[in-house]
């Protein structure tokens, strides 16, 4: 199991959150492959070596989060960096775009820190069409707020939803790079 903690910059669109998430393994979730969950390493265990392909997938995932955060801050659903990490035309980016569009219509955006608690690649299937990898994640949404863009005042009635597991799928594109294609936040679960 790989546990990664990463604090991300400000302003994350809630709807965009749907499209992104990190590992469920840190949250006690089921990996979904029928195997028992891996044992947690001792606290003093040195960092494990990560499969290079898994690391590449995680890098793409982190890049996608950064791009999404920047796009949300800019209020730009066509933010150029998005296409470097998200699969254009797939659900994750479509939801990022919808979230930004929706926030723009309401004159709102998300302000605050999003902490990525953990991220793990739990499955890689190169035989699938398209080849797909599953990334389980835990995101801490506690420190971001939906605010009005004009004065950063908080939009009432929206509470920080805490930590939740998120299941993502990355797709291996025909150009040889991985892209985030889908994401589903399990809002009824905590991690």
């Amino acid at each position: 199991m790989t546990t990664t903690s990463r604090s991300l910059v400000r302003a994350v669109g809630f709807a965009a959150m749907i499209a992104l998430g990190l590992s469920v393994t840190a949250c006690g979730g089921d990996s979904g492959d029928g195997l028992p969950p891996p044992a947690s390493p001792p606290a003093d265990t040195p960092a494990q070596t990560i499969d290079p392909e898994h690391q590449q997938i995680l890098d793409v995932y982190y890049g996608s989060v950064d791009a999404m955060v920047a796009a949300q801050a800019a209020g730009d659903p066509d933010y150029p960096d998005l296409a470097n990490y998200f699969l254009v035309g797939a659900a994750a980016l479509m939801n990022v775009e919808s979230g930004i569009q929706h926030n723009n219509l309401r004159g709102t955006y998300y302000l605050g820190d999003l902490e990525v608690v953990s991220a793990t690649v739990t499955e890689v299937d190169l035989e699938a069409e398209p080849p797909v990898a599953v990334i389980e994640a835990c995101l801490d949404y506690s420190n971001y707020l939906l605010v009005h863009r004009e004065d950063d005042s908080r939009v009432p009635g929206v509470e920080p939803p805490g930590r939740h597991p998120v299941t993502n799928q990355a797709v291996l594109g025909t150009d040889g790079f991985w892209y985030i294609a889908t994401s589903e936040t399990h809002w009824t679960e905590s991690c």
């Binding site: 669109g13 809630f14 709807a15 749907i18 499209a19 699969l87 254009v88 035309g89 797939a90 659900a91 994750a92 479509m94 939801n95 919808s98 979230g99 569009q101 929706h102 926030n103 219509l105 309401r106 499955e123 299937d125 035989e127 699938a128 069409e129 398209p130 797909v132 939906l146 939009v155 009635g157 929206v158 509470e159 939803p161 299941t167 993502n168 799928q169 797709v171 594109g173 025909t174 150009d175 790079f177 892209y179 294609a181 889908t182 994401s183 589903e184 936040t185 399990h186 809002w187 009824t188």
Partner: protein, 353 residues
Amino acid sequence: MLTLDRKAWVAAITTSMVVFATGLFVATNAHTPQPDLSPSRTELTAQPRDNCPTNDYLCLPGTENPSPSNPSRGSGGGSTACTYDTGDGTITVADDSRRRGIVRLAQYGVIEIPCYMEGYGWYDGGNCYVGDPPALVQPPLFPPEGADPDSGAWYWLRCFAGITLFNGEPVFYWYADMRWRWIAHEDAPSVTPEQVARSWLAAIRLEPVQLQLAPPPGSGAGLVGLPVWLGVDTSDPNSWGPISDRHCIAGVCVSLSAQVTEVTWNMGDGTTFTCARGTHHTWQRGMDFRSPTGCHHFYQRSSRHQPGGHYTLTATSHWEVEWSGLSASGVMTVERTATTSVQIDEIQVLTTR
């Protein structure tokens, strides 16, 4: 994961909660997978889930109020919008037109959604759009079992889990889902040039004529026996034309031209007549007011006894929209109506000997 034998996944998805833009917009989806009974359509998902109901018909531009029990394909002449009935509650629809926040509408009724969205594809009548896969994704190499490779093609499904309406315009939220659907060529979504033209017409802003009457309403009364010059602003393309454009959907392109060809005037005194384009001259200083050079009207009585003391005048402009593309052509007509009021007085002449 997708299996090598291309067997479609049919697995129940457990209840999942999808929370949208503000956290107040919550969609619960616990869908029961439905078997695909259509021999020409097979779906593959890259995940063991089935968020989208299988649909057995396509909704295309020109299809009005599609019904699952009445498979239909657009043939032109109808609405460019498709409809989605929220009544079954499968998909959460919320209204965010009010600034106070999103209102979830469990029973919103029938809403309009696009039949086609660039980059998404065609609305399939359920809660999915059927289109090309992402550019960086290659479709499966083989057709479903038993299908002739030349009989159809794989399409990518994009299925919505919720809709937020903002001033009536839908903003979609999409299932975290990847799925292929095999569609036989004869059932493949397509668009006709007329449907492209109608789509353009639905999106273009055509306005009523801008009236330039003389005497101008509100600045003085006309007189019985003197003409009312029925001029219009001919410099505004959106109210008078001509407008030329080219419009494409899914690679089908048409050229269009639109202009007002005539205006029907209802003068409010029981008189109705039509003036052709090119006759709506505006009175200018230096012109003989009593000798109108174009469309005009002489009132025979004062408006004193009319409601409000004036005649209500309407000008209905008739647009003709000509389109052509892919060896087809046609004309569509649209009407817009402008309304104003004119006051007409009568000069009392006292003759003495």
